[in-house]
Every structure is written in C-alpha cells, then in structure tokens.
Symmetry: C2
Subunit: 137 residues, 2 copies
DNA sequence: TGTGAAATGCAACGACGTTGCATAGGGAAA
DNA sequence: TTTCCCTATGCAACGTCGTTGCATTTCACA
C-alpha cells in the first residue's frame, strides 16, 4: 500500500503530502466511488475541505482519479487503467445500488458501441446503471 | 402549444398555474436539456427560484420531465415516451457537446443491453456520451 | 361565488464549488 | 545538513444550489 501511494504520486509528478497520501489511501481501501463529502467525513479533522477539494481537482487533472456520474452530486474513483493528463480511458460501467447507495465500477464490463447519427463525434462515454447490487439482493 | 401544455398538466392531475405553464413552455420551445439555472435565467423575474425548484420536483415525480445525467449539475428534459409516477422509461442516449455545451436526447438511439454480473438487477440505465455535436463539427 | 386545499414567495440553512492571500512545508541544490 | 524557492495548505469569503418552514395567495370544485 505504501508503495502504491508513493509510486502513484511520483509517477504523476506530485509532491508527497499527508493529505494526498490519506486521500489516496482512502480510495484504495474503500473499494467504491467516493464523494467529497465521504472524504471529508474521514479526513476533515486533519484537513481543510478546500485542501480536499484541491487534492481531488489535482488528482482529476493528472489522471489519478476519474469522475463518476451520479444523479446526485459528483463522485470519484481511482483510475485502474493507464490514464494521464493527456488521455483518460474510462469506458466501463458504473453501478449504483439504490438500496445501500454504493457506486462501484464494474471493471470487466465495457460500454457497448453506440452508433451515433452522422456528424456526431464521441469523446467520452459514461454508462450508469442503477438498481440493486449483489449484496443487497 | 397551448393545447400541449394544458393537456399535459391535466393528464398528470396538476393545477394550471402560470409558473408551470411557462416552465413547460420553455422546455417545449428549447429543444434541449435544461438546468435549473437555465430556467431561472428566463423566468426569474416572474417566479421565485424556490417555485421553479418545486415545479421541477413536481414534474419529475409526475413523469413530465426526467433527469439527464451531467458531469456538472443536474439537467432535465421532457419525457417523450409515456411516463407516469409509476413507470419511467428513459433508456435512450443523451449527448453533451463539449463545444456548445448543449445536452440533447438522441431519441432514436437506445442503450444497448449490458449483461450484468450475477446478482445485479438493473432498474434504470443512463448513457451519456460527450463529444462534438453535428452543429459544431 | 365561497371555501378548502394546493401553490407561491420569502427567509433561512447547509452543502459545495471556487478564489485570493498569507503561511507552512517539501525537496533539490549547495 | 542546511538553505531557499516553489508548491501545498488553511482560512476567509462569496456565489450557487438543494431544501424546508411558514404565512399568504390562488386555483378549482361544490
């Protein structure tokens, strides 16, 4: 874990700070999409909410995390595939359980190709499925 | 148009008020997904933002409009298919142009079926494609 | 046309996104 | 190891949005 955190920050040319370490640690330990509020719940004693906000923003820009669509507010999840500032790669499916509220990446599923009308160019595709997850069914 | 608005409200058993009429009219005239901010821009001289908020909430509950996922804030669009309080039906694709910022429903496209892992049950599916629309390309 | 129920406006609160600025802290070079 | 610069952080502040309570107005049916 220590290795993962240090290596991730170094790979993306970011300074090692306690806030960044703990945010990364939280993402790694809780295997689900997190909102800024979730992170604040865990870290607000130690870090200002603006710092958490800026940490998320930085991670987003560098391709360490990606935004997960949600019908209420924003959530974020670690990028598993190789992402960088230049290219993001997130055409997998997100599943939100309406019972327990958890949002997860279904890593193995890919978004089926959609044939767009003439003139439309796709850059990014987000598929959110809501329903009941395996634990709650 | 008059007919559409009156009939829509009556069909969903809602009182006819000027705010509801104008919100519906705005949705009908501008053929795209609108945020609460968009509506306030047009209507805030005449109606309180809370009234607009509650109008949207009511329309959502009754199946007159549906929520459109967006990576920044919520947007709403008219339900074209038959929707009611009981059953919503919105498995079509939404397209957001990163150039002009417009979000539209691609009515003719349906979300391809995704085979979920065992134990997962889908209730609602949202597909958002971002890129360049026909007008901007 | 009167009346009860529903819709509206206003005030207020919290959560979030965002920015500016002064201070603290990381890390490379001496 | 120490110094110094640049970056990250904390704090204050502001705007937007979602949300609720309450008093007042308005709709629609009897």
């Amino acid at each position: 874990m220590e290795n993962f955190i240090g290596a991730t920050l170094k790979n993306h040319k970011l300074r090692t700070t306690s806030c960044r370490e703990e945010v990364l640690d939280t993402f790694a330990n809780r295997d689900m999409a997190l909102s800024q509020g979730d992170l604040e719940g865990t870290l607000k004693d130690r870090f200002d909410r603006v710092t958490i906000y800026r940490t998320l923003k930085t991670f987003l820009e560098r391709g360490i995390i990606h935004k997960v669509l949600d019908d209420e507010g924003s959530r974020y999840a670690l990028c598993r595939e190789r992402c960088s500032e230049e290219s993001h790669n997130h055409d997998h499916v997100h599943f939100k359980c309406t019972k327990c509220g958890q949002t997860n990446c279904l890593e193995n599923l890919y978004v089926p190709a959609v044939k767009l009308p003439v003139g439309y160019q796709a850059r990014e595709v987000n598929l959110l499925i809501q329903g009941i997850c395996e634990k709650c069914s």
